[in-house]
Amino acid sequence: MAIGSGTDLDDAQAADLLELYPNAPASRRRLRLPRSPKVIIGLALLIGFGVLAVIGPWIAPYNPAQTFSTTASFPQPPSAAHLLGTTQQQQDVLSQLLAGGRSTILVAFVAGLIATVLSVIVGVTAGYAGGLGDDLLSMLANFFLILPALPLLIVIFGFLPPSQGGDDVLIGLIIAVTGWAFGARVLRAQTLSLRTRDYVESARIVGERGWRIISFEILPNLIPILASSFLFTVLYGVGTYTALAFLGLVNPNHVSWGGMLFYAQVAGAEQSGYWWLFLPPGLAVALLGTSLALLNFSIDEFINPRLRAAGLSRRRARRAGVTETARPPRRFVLGVTPVLRSVPPAGDDGRPR
């Protein structure tokens, strides 16, 4: 989960964020992510998937819907002709995998985008306006938050005629309607704390209009949390869309990873050991989700610097010329300050001795 859980943590996170941006006017501070392996892997994976979404159907060796043999009735294991084998209907699994990425990624990003926009509108307004408006909007957000999303979506899509179930943007929109509430809650908490900051107060006293204050003073400081919330919602979109496709609720003629898993179950893949039917799409979804989660981790660490690796890493300690005595400094021990007798490298900053 991105921001953690619950209002108290929202407040704590809000407080930490405010420590990063002390009473300065909205500095256009760039989102500089710490350069750790997590970020690099996450970003690389995500970019990879983005590329796949665009060129996937083109680089697929075959048409995903094309059936190959009319005699075989079992899914065929991987072979030279079909690198990931075939489905029960004798369609090429690899092609389906490559083509299926597009709808999954598209739906998830549309959902993430719409949900983030909604959460900003509701969350920031609620946090800034206060009073009755805040109460009503908060109640609305809490309502959507509590309502179990997937069962609701199942009911909605269950009633939806199949013709409508193929439009990716529409699906993304409906998913967004169930997923905006979490971001709204977080943004509201953050806006509440930012609202009392001196630079906002002074802007209000001077007479700046509300929407200008929001746009120029508050929103720029919300960017890290917005980014995290966006990623989290995209993650939610991926999982939800895959689940809906798995249940056969979205147009089954539209190839997607969830749809592949649907057919895998129909073919009894897990019972009969046809691992090539469910492992590739499942792994693809899991890896996409992992990349999003890794990026989210990094943003969390950016927002709350305490979450970064504490103490010295071995590498940095060696570079500093520090030798260890009784206690290795790498492992963080609460309540016991480490003691290092260091040999200062030649030409340091001239500490008086």
């Binding site: 109640m139 309502f143 199942i154 269950g158 009633f159 897990e270 899991a286 992992t290 979450l307 690796a309």
Partner: protein, 326 residues
Amino acid sequence: MYVISRRIGFYALTAIAAVTVTFFIPRVMPGNPVSAVLAKMQGTVVTKQTLAALQAEFGSDTREGLVGQYLHYWNDILHGNLGISTSNGMVPVTTVIRGALPWTLGLVGTATVISFILGTLLGILVAWRRGSWLDTLLPATTFFQAAPYFFLAFLAIDLFAIRLGWFPAVGARNTLDFPAFDWTYASDVLDHAILPALTIVVASAAGWIVGMRNVMITTMDEDYVLIAQAKGLPKRRVIWYAARNAILPSISGFSLAIGFVVSGALLTEIVFSYPGLGFILLSAVQEADYALLQGIFLVITMAVLIANLAADFVYVYLDPRTRQEA
């Protein structure tokens, strides 16, 4: 207490809203649900009463106005009448649900509790032993969190049930045996429940682990934890002092996450053909059994609300600051 009564009021409102939503969905969606149901029922005899019932259920019956239908709907609900299940031989929806609910409660309830406890304890451990090898596990947990529940279920079945043959792959019990309160029956149920439960635990624990770890790290920076160390208290005490505070956001998070966990658990049930709500949910979708669909949705929502209320009680008990009269 003021805080709790406010929450109960909110839950009541939510329940009302949920019922209203279920009432409006079939009437708002494009298409005609009645004809869709009838299309699926080809082959069975449809009596006039059935037709009338269906029409009343989905609003095609225009004898009553919208408000009238709404009140009628509420009347039914409060009397425990959730409609007729068309895919299960026209038995009441409540009967179908009553058959499946205990399995879901047993499996999902237990698995969720185990997952929460395990995840929280692991989160505390990872936070306490920061900088150790445990930190490297964290990205692995994100993988399990990102992987869909049903995919993990596939993996579990393929690996543990089929290839290794340790556990059964399907169902909740050996259907040939009659249920009895003896050890063989109980162990059989347990045997069937382990893989689905394991799947749910593995998929959901990651969220608790990371959440608890993050809060613990922030909490351990608090002055009162430093003072606890300065007091020379034993390590276990210090961790307890920190965890006792850090668990509060986790409990709030429990309320938020319970919806997700339930959804994932339902999907897991489907893969395992576990005869719980998830299973009958799928058949309801496939058979266009809308009444059952709505009924399941309402039951799930009520369960989530109750779980939330329970979590709120625990939270207020654990945090004295909330007990102040507003």
